[in-house]
């Protein structure tokens, strides 16, 4: 059985190396593994309760090739993500990603944080110089709706 210190070290090292997240950012976080998912939290639920959802936010999944960060956790980290960012400026480009198209990307292969005008909006996958969005379907639809909402005067 893997020890907690090992899990924590692996997670912190992953976010530091891939996303440039300062080690101190994750100081107050607990990381708890449920099945293949790793949750980040600032509190642990007592063992006497049957949980519908653990404390905190789903941060990572284990895949055959290593960790995959969740869109929710990357969005929560926000501006503290300093590397591995795929910057998108044009609304049309973000909409294209949300509609399932891929775009050119200069990052190396692996997972990336999609940044729209400075806000991290989710996780993407880079392969052969192109990125596609891995944001959950419902959230993609909500973001498309937000992008299409008429602005005020």
């Amino acid at each position: 059985m893997r020890g907690y210190a090992s899990l924590r070290d692996d997670v912190v090292a992953y976010f530091a190396e891939r996303f440039g997240v300062d080690l101190s950012v994750l100081d107050g976080f607990l990381f708890v593994e449920h099945a293949e998912e790793i949750w980040a939290a600032t509190a642990a639920a007592p063992p006497g309760l049957s949980l519908a959802r653990p404390a905190g936010v789903r941060a990572l999944r284990r895949t055959e090739s290593g960790f995959k960060p969740t869109s929710a956790f990357l969005t929560l980290l926000g501006e503290r993500v300093r590397a591995g960012r795929a910057e998108v400026e044009a609304q049309e480009d973000l909409a294209a990603l949300l509609l399932g198209k891929d775009l050119p990307c200069s990052l190396g292969p692996g997972f990336a944080a999609i940044s729209f005008r400075g806000d991290i909006v989710g996780c993407g996958a880079v392969r052969e110089g192109r990125i596609r969005a891995l944001i959950p379907t419902g959230r993609k639809k909500e973001l498309l709706d937000a992008l299409s909402t008429p602005r005020g005067a």
């Binding site: 639920a45 007592p46 309760l49 519908a52 404390a55 905190g56 929560l76 419902g138 937000a146 602005r151």
Partner: protein, 303 residues
């Protein structure tokens, strides 16, 4: 059948709601578009500037520094909302959390949590430190709760799905919020059908459930802990009568909620019922006194 709403309706409150004409007039006005900033995700001024650039100018709320009033509808369809930087919420919904006064590091239970407005507010007030258990037995409502927790990134919230009245007594909490299901008369500015008042049978059914919920919420407190009981209805059967039931069944102590708003006191009596001494510490909120929805809350302590 739910019974005949014409037998009383809102007019049965004419003798207890101050300035009845102003109340009726306020009930017909649209609600202001208000939002609560998630201060753990960013400061109020920064969000106000972002929203203004999007065409949504906002104004501060003097007594609630983490709230803003938007000058037009649609603010819930912005990318800032999608990012979880704020929650669209009526001002009246802030009051139970202010009365609860959760502190960082405490263990807190929100017994009837969906859709999550008060849960996320409580988490924010706790600065994401300490544990907040959000309980919701209804599967569909729990989905809304989970979606909101995911959107705002609530880091100290665990979710359970117990029936509130049978939440296990294995844990003791520093604070418990029982924001009970109710007949929702206080939402009448949004729900026009409620301007005739709630069905008597609904009030009766809710009052039975509320009594079970407030008892269990109280029993889940550690000694010295604080319970806030709240509803969004005007019906005394669901408000003062439920608190009186708890006072009769347990050694609970009513406390002033010390809220920063103009509101009315709890009732000393209603129809044939005379409530225990001290019920004036309860808070009744009316739409003409606070430009929002209506509601009720009581703050109680376990000795």
């Amino acid at each position: 059948m739910n019974g005949d709403r014409s037998q009383g309706g809102l007019s049965r409150y004419q003798g207890i709601i101050p300035d009845w004409e102003a109340f009726q007039s306020a009930c017909g006005r649209p609600l202001p578009a208000t939002l609560r900033v998630h201060t753990m995700r960013g400061d109020v001024q920064n969000l106000a500037s972002r929203l203004a650039r999007q065409g949504f100018p906002t104004r501060p709320v003097a007594w609630a520094p983490d709230f803003l009033v938007a000058d037009r509808e649609g603010v819930g369809k912005t990318i800032e909302h999608w990012l979880g930087l704020f929650y669209v919420q009526e001002l009246v919904q802030a009051l139970p959390v202010l009365a609860l006064d959760p502190q960082p590091g405490e263990t807190v239970l929100d017994l009837c949590a969906a859709p999550g407005g008060k849960t996320t507010h409580t988490s924010d007030r706790m600065e994401s430190r300490g544990l907040l258990v959000a309980n919701e037995p209804n599967g569909r409502r729990m989905q809304a709760l989970l979606a909101n927790l995911n959107r705002v990134g609530a880091l100290n919230v665990a979710v359970t799905g117990y029936r509130g009245e049978s939440f296990p007594l294995a844990e003791a909490f520093d604070r418990v919020l029982v924001d009970a299901p109710c007949s929702a008369e206080g939402t009448l500015r949004r729900e026009k059908t409620l301007r005739q008042g709630a069905y008597p049978s609904v009030i009766k059914r809710m009052a039975l459930l509320q009594r079970r919920l407030i008892l269990r919420g109280y029993d889940l407190l550690r000694p010295g802990g604080t319970l806030v009981y709240s509803t969004c209805t005007f019906a005394p059967e669901e408000n003062e009568a439920v608190v009186a039931f708890l006072l009769d069944e347990r050694d609970a102590r009513l406390e002033p909620a010390a809220l920063p708003v103009v509101a009315s006191s709890g009732l000393a009596k209603w129809e044939d019922a005379v409530f225990p001494h001290g019920m004036e510490a309860c808070v009744r909120v009316y739409p003409h006194e606070l430009d929002s929805g209506g509601g009720f809350l009581a703050r109680l302590r376990k000795p």
